[in-house]
Symmetry: C2
Subunit: 249 residues, 2 copies
């Protein structure tokens, strides 16, 4: 949802189809095999609904399923990892970059591979933070326990002299203030949701035929979810800043 | 898994087929519709594998899917809620019973309906504790943050003069010591996993034809999971006290 919100803000006049696989989340604790299976089905759903370009709006799915999705589907597929990795490379001054993400994202080692593939001299420090997803979904974004858990997760990164930290999970922008306060103002945070939307914007500048704007602000935005609860409605309203009409499919 | 362990301990000579739907857990944050859908498919799987009696080894699924499963499938179906509710009724002296469980279990109000259906004068105090499932799955069963979260969840129950508290989620036995320490030694904890196994044991005493023991200790126990990760292997070994052979299907 944080990716959809970032796309809305940067490209409000474009038609947008969102699918949130609430019935099977979280993905970050699951195996690559299962994540790929779900990602294939989710992409099929969006293509059936008429999508002509896919954004894999999840770091976990981007980390393990991108290659397979590009093999299977012959539409442009944007993922959220590479734009964030590229922005981290552009931002760092000392070549020391931190990554926080789910177990599956960190285990895939994809951020390190992209960053050191371009800059072998750079150092990447990764930390899995699995409890941050349920804490965000509980809307515990300002609780003392959440601050303590963030402190515990960030502790190993605080001795690593990073100057740049990638929020490598699309839930983490909701914890940005707590993470910034803990890691320190001298560390630049990279929001993978915003970077993916910026990357899409650049693509549409150079390849305007990929998707045509319809011009009507938010009019052609449709939000599908595979499960619907009060908690999901609440988090959606909080992320988008308005009550959201979520279609349960 | 805590239910399967309790069944193993009480009825070691009986054949046991376990299915853990790791690919789609947690259930407790999902809608009744989705939980029923998954429960139907899980039961079908176990029946295809030859089960002649089903235990719905999850409070969330027991709370919302039992009626539907009994309509669909004509085998004996045991759920984990009623045995725990009956044991709580037997244990309480002051008629004040606490229930902790997932969002879906608490929202279903099933414990209150069973208890006050039998004893309208009893008072039931329910508290949802959604973060305890991910904390157990992370194996954070002795962390300071977990103690604080338990304190926050149990706080509303501590002014209610309960003398009995149902662990209304099959994950919570792994937090039993922390919960007991927080709620106080004067409160009797009811373990829904153990009560379900005891209920099965009684059923098999009175209806021995339901399932025949094979006699070979653990030899006919097969554990299926819909997803398999290192974390699942780790938690399984911890619960069963031995390395577990989990079959990924």
């Amino acid at each position: 949802m944080t990716v959809a919100r970032a796309v809305e803000q940067l490209l409000p006049g474009y038609p947008l189809l969102y699918f949130g696989d609430i019935a099977r989340t979280p993905y970050g604790t699951k195996s690559p095999e299962t994540i790929i299976d779900y990602s294939l089905r989710n992409t099929e759903f969006l293509l059936q609904k008429g999508a002509s370009l896919i954004i894999i709006a999840c770091n976990t799915a981007s980390s393990v399923a991108t290659d397979r999705l590009r093999q299977e589907f012959h539409v442009p597929i944007i993922e959220v990892v590479t734009p964030a990795a590229v922005e981290a490379i552009a931002c760092t001054k000392n070549g020391r970059i931190g990554i926080i993400g789910t177990k599956a994202t960190v285990k895939s080692d994809i951020y390190r591979r992209i960053i050191t593939g371009l800059h072998p001299e750079f150092k990447v420090f990764s930390q899995e933070c699995p409890l941050l997803v349920p804490l965000v979904e509980e809307d515990w974004t300002n609780k003392r326990e959440t601050k303590m858990i963030i402190r515990r997760y960030l502790h190993p990164l605080q001795n690593s002299q990073i100057d740049t930290l990638v929020l490598g999970c699309t839930h983490y922008p909701l914890l940005k203030d707590l993470i910034q306060a803990r890691i320190g103002r001298h560390v630049r945070l990279i929001d993978s949701s915003v970077e993916a939307a910026r990357h899409l914007q650049k693509m549409l500048c150079t390849q305007p035929d990929l998707v045509k704007p319809t011009g009507a602000h938010l009019a052609d935005h449709i939000y599908y979810v595979s499960d619907l609860t009060d908690a999901v409605q609440h988090v959606a309203a909080r992320i988008f800043g308005r009550p959201m009409e979520l279609h349960h499919v």
